[in-house]
């Protein structure tokens, strides 16, 4: 199409885009007007007065054709030209940025690798492109991946970079060439930026300096055959033995409808396998796969699909995630307003779970309590439910049983709400005659926290129902409700469980809350059995049934549903509950020689932010070397401290953070980060045409592919950047003008013949 345009209009479209149109005839506009009128008026008069056989329509057509021919002639006589800025040879610099990352090794350029094209363009002495560019410009080469640097010869490039940062590369080149006349930048890359950083700022800098960027996209926009495990969402830490349900995102091309095995590995040991039907091309499949974390410590979980026949890239078939499997006790306070069977059965269900420490406090008579504690039995909870934030906030979870709201003071109710929103704890309210609306919780601070709507202050009188529990669509794949190895087996298990009794009519969840279990019974439908929502930093759950123990008493002895459910419920409720001091690295995996960025948060025992205190991170390398790094308060965010550390070894690094206030130890936390070559270069590594076009369009450059790159040198020469001269290019001799003239005259003659007017 472009060559046809060039044949008709003499120049390529780019010339027309870059040039300004004007007439360069020496006559003034008045002379032109007189000549025009002088030609047109007699023509019109002659044709309008002519008689004979011609009809008015004939005269109109013929005069029109003749006027158009004359106008075309007149247009040419005025000598139309394009005024262009072109660079002065060897007076301007041209920056050539070449992608040095690993994705350039992919062989998707007609069987050749992307890097071989780079060598062909700039590494070979007989390269036409190189000689054309070198003829017009002074060339400056840069290679880039995570960083950009000047090079003299592209043949020295190894294409080993493990990151592609387009924005940083463009900014660096612009800064380095800021003091010279710069005609533009050539960006030779696949465009697969994997920094997730915005390009807005680098492009703004280029636009401000009027530096056009000519992007050359290497590789295919879509691989013919490939499967990619694009994304895995996992928590950073879980309790030992926790059930996890992880979302794994899979994309593919060329394998629509195929079924593959998605394998989960815990440090190389297979912990689950699930069959996945690959989605249609261009679509994303999100697979939820359950598994258990059974080994303590920092564990690397792998999620992979075995390479398929004909796959171009196999490195993107696997994602890894570092999960710290914690093997210490989490504290839960279970408060009951009356002795209930749920207490004993719950305690029995979690008795063998060494990571859960359930402290029980139950009222046995008015103002009389029975405590079952784990530590300091003589001191804690003597006066009943905690009255201070320090006392309550030492727990990660709180289970409220059948205890009426009026039992608590308003301060205690607010404190429970703060326990969820500020401390980030997990709150679970159980059903019972003194819970929810029946317990007078509507319009209390706790009603705001709960995921369900508590309507009115009067309970439905004597509501009592036996409901068969079923799992909702959300519940099918939730970690709490996984009762079997696979999601389907788990869903089937729910259908066989004994019904449960409820005395709390709850049917509506708040916006943003999720229902996992619901119940139906005679005259009762849509009864919520288990729902949750995030509230502030924590989460709240409701379980408005009164005899979950029926799943223990009324099922076969070997059935472990009751135990499994309680453990998963409590573990999930307290998962992710923050400690007073927290540390995490911005990424759980960094490349060698990449800095580990640490972010910490410090709070006191009432979970109020502590600013400007002493926070030190001790980083232990795999070989046991310890480095201490002071973490500084970020000032703009309360309680947040940051530091960066450059690792000297590959492997797993342990980061322990301690906070001191006035010389006294506050608390500590530990985290892990891996230093390892990342495989991110192989994810989303198709040529990103949209990104490259955007860079070109926003800077006034142009996008090229290997098939169009031959005009690059000439195109760049038409620029207003750098040292340029103005030149005019004639348009009067465009073939299209001659052709149009011939067509008009021929048409007039043909019309006369047809109408017998010759």
């Amino acid at each position: 199409m472009e060559s046809l345009f060039e044949f008709l209009f003499k120049y390529r479209p780019l010339i027309f885009e870059r040039g300004d149109f004007m007439f360069s005839a020496p006559w003034t506009i008045y002379v032109a007007a007189v000549v025009g009128v002088g030609l047109l008026v007699p023509t019109v008069l002659l044709y309008s007065r002519a008689r004979g056989k011609s009809r008015p329509i004939d005269r109109t057509v013929l005069s029109g054709l003749r006027i158009l021919a004359l106008a075309l002639l007149l247009f040419s006589l005025f000598r139309p030209v394009l005024v262009l800025s072109t660079v002065v040879p060897q007076k301007n610099f041209l920056g050539i940025l070449v992608d040095d990352s690993r994705s350039m090794r992919l062989a998707d350029a007609d069987g050749a690798s992307r890097s071989s094209l780079v060598r062909q363009y700039f590494g070979a002495e007989d390269s036409e492109l190189l000689s054309e560019l070198a003829e017009k410009f002074i060339l400056r080469f840069f290679r880039f991946s995570a960083e950009a640097e000047r090079i003299h010869d592209v043949s020295t490039m190894g294409f080993t970079g493990n990151k592609t940062d387009l924005g940083r590369a463009l900014s660096r080149a612009r800064q380095e060439l800021a003091s010279v006349p710069l005609a533009g930048l050539v960006l030779m890359t696949d465009g697969a930026d994997n920094t997730h950083e915005s390009l807005e700022e680098p492009l703004l800098g280029l636009r401000a300096r009027s530096v056009p960027v000519y992007t050359v996209g290497l590789g295919q926009e879509e691989f013919p055959r490939d499967v990619e495990v694009s994304r895995v969402e996992t928590p950073r830490s879980v309790l030992l033995g926790a059930s996890l349900v992880v979302d794994v995102t899979v994309t593919q091309s060329g394998y629509t409808g195929s079924t593959v095995d998605l394998i989960v590995e815990d440090d190389g040991r297979i912990v689950n396998t699930q069959q996945v039907e690959l989605p249609r091309e261009g679509e994303v499949a999100t697979v939820r796969i359950p598994f258990k974390a059974t080994e303590p410590g920092p564990r690397v979980f792998g999620f992979r699909i075995a390479p398929l026949d004909g796959e171009l890239v196999v490195e993107n078939n696997e994602q890894e995630a570092l999960i710290v499997v914690e093997d210490h006790r989490k504290k839960i306070l279970y408060f009951e307003g009356e002795p209930r069977w749920e207490i004993g059965f719950l305690r029995r269900a979690v008795a063998e779970d060494e990571n859960l420490e359930v402290t029980l406090l139950t009222r046995t008579a008015d103002n009389k309590f029975y405590r079952i504690l784990f530590d300091n039995p003589d001191e804690k909870l003597v006066g009943g439910f905690p009255t201070t934030r320090e006392e309550l906030f030492e727990y990660q979870g709180l289970v409220l049983g059948s205890a009426e709201a009026s039992f608590f003071t308003l301060d205690q109710l607010r404190m429970i709400a703060d326990f969820v929103s500020q401390r980030g704890g997990g709150l679970l309210m159980l059903g019972g005659r003194r819970a929810f609306v029946e317990g007078g919780y509507a319009e209390t601070p706790i009603a705001d926290v709960l995921p369900v709507v508590l309507e009115g202050t009067d309970a439905e009188e004597d509501f009592l129902a036996e409901v068969q529990v079923s799992v909702t669509l959300s519940g099918r794949t939730h970690p709490i409700t996984q009762l079997a190895e696979t999601i389907d087996e788990s869903a089937a298990r729910w259908e066989d469980l004994p019904p449960l009794m409820t005395v709390n009519r709850i049917t509506e969840v708040k916006p943003g809350a999720t229902t996992l279990l619901e119940g139906e019974g005679p005259g009762v439908s849509d009864q919520i059995v288990l729902a949750y929502q995030r509230y502030g930093r924590g989460k709240s759950l409701v379980l408005p049934v009164r005899d979950l123990w029926a799943w223990q008493m009324r099922t076969p002895l070997e059935d472990m549903t009751h135990e499994t459910f309680w453990r998963q419920l409590l573990r999930w409720a307290i998962s992710g509950v923050p400690d007073r001091v927290r540390v995490a690295s911005v990424a759980d995996r960094v490349a060698p020689e990449e800095a580990i960025e640490l972010v910490g948060e410090v709070e006191d025992d009432t979970y109020l932010k502590v600013n400007n205190t002493s926070v030190v991170a001790r980083v232990t390398s795999p070989s046991g070397m310890v480095d201490s790094v002071a973490m500084d308060w970020t000032v703009d965010r309360d309680g947040e401290y940051r530091a960066a550390f450059l690792p000297r070894e590959d492997g797993l690094h342990k980061v322990e953070v301690s906070a001191l206030e006035d010389g006294e130890f506050l608390a500590s936390d530990a985290s892990y980060v891996r230093v390892k070559d990342p495989a991110r270069e192989y994810f989303g590594s198709e040529m990103q045409e949209a990104t490259l076009r955007r860079i070109a369009d926003e800077t006034g450059g142009r996008f090229y592919t290997p098939s169009t790159v031959s005009t690059l040198a000439e195109d760049i020469s038409f620029t207003e950047s750098g040292t340029t001269v103005v030149e005019q290019r004639d348009l009067w001799d465009m073939p299209i003008i001659f052709m149009l003239l011939m067509i008009l005259i021929s048409t007039e003659w043909g019309y006369r013949r047809l109408r017998g007017l010759v």
Binding site: I343, T364, A550, M553
Partner: protein, 292 residues
Amino acid sequence: MRLIRPTFPVFLVSCLAVSQFGDPGTALQTPDPSADFALSFAEARNGGPSDPAFPTVRRQWGCRGPHHGVAEDSLGKYEFYFTRTIYSGYRRGCSWSVDYPRADRIFLHGLRRMTVIDAYDMENPVRLDDPELLRFPFIYALEVGAMGLTPSEEEGLRNYLLAGGFLFVDDFWGTYEWLNFEREISRVLPEYAVREIPLDHPVFRTVYDVDSIVQVPNLGNGRSGWRTHESDGYVPHVRGIFDDNDRLMVAVHWNTDLGDAWEWADDPYYPLKYSNYAWQVAINFIVYAMTH
């Protein structure tokens, strides 16, 4: 651990006084008017009033008390049901119904007054081989010296206990009756031994501090003050069967009659101290069963 020491005798007397004479002005929790402990002799003999709201339990001719379970609209409504086990035995199979239902109702009345337990205020007899037994995690059995379980009852009781149920045994005396009970329970739980529950066990501290094991006499002995024991059961014992996780599954009160102490707590000639103790021990064990 006891946090606040109650004036228990005073409270119990006031509670019973309310129940006997009725005090509509009391701020305390009042019992259900249908809880009529003064069952007529005819009702007791004939198996109690016939009421279609109550599911009928398989009748055993000659046994005392009404033969019905929990009223349908009350099943599942309450947390605690004082469930008396109907078991087969030697005295025409009626030893399960001794003191029934008066002791059950008066005990429940006291339980509701002295604790915040959400207790159903009527009796609830259930057969050991009835699958419905699994709805009630606490069961009471007495006069087990005459117990003679059928294979289906053995299986029902075994499944019940291993699933998490709790058996409270009371009112049997002397070596002969002990040997009978021991033989029966060893067929139910052959892998577990019966052992003494020491006084420092938490079960004696859940609600009330029980510092000694008291021999509670039956009505006649209590009224006369002549003696407290029966047969050769001179020393009272509280024994138990614990599961693999040291959970108390069976509590055995031997050489003592807590049931009579509940049933006749309103008798002016029956010593109040025995009733006090009987309630304290039973409440302790119930709270322990519910929380462990």
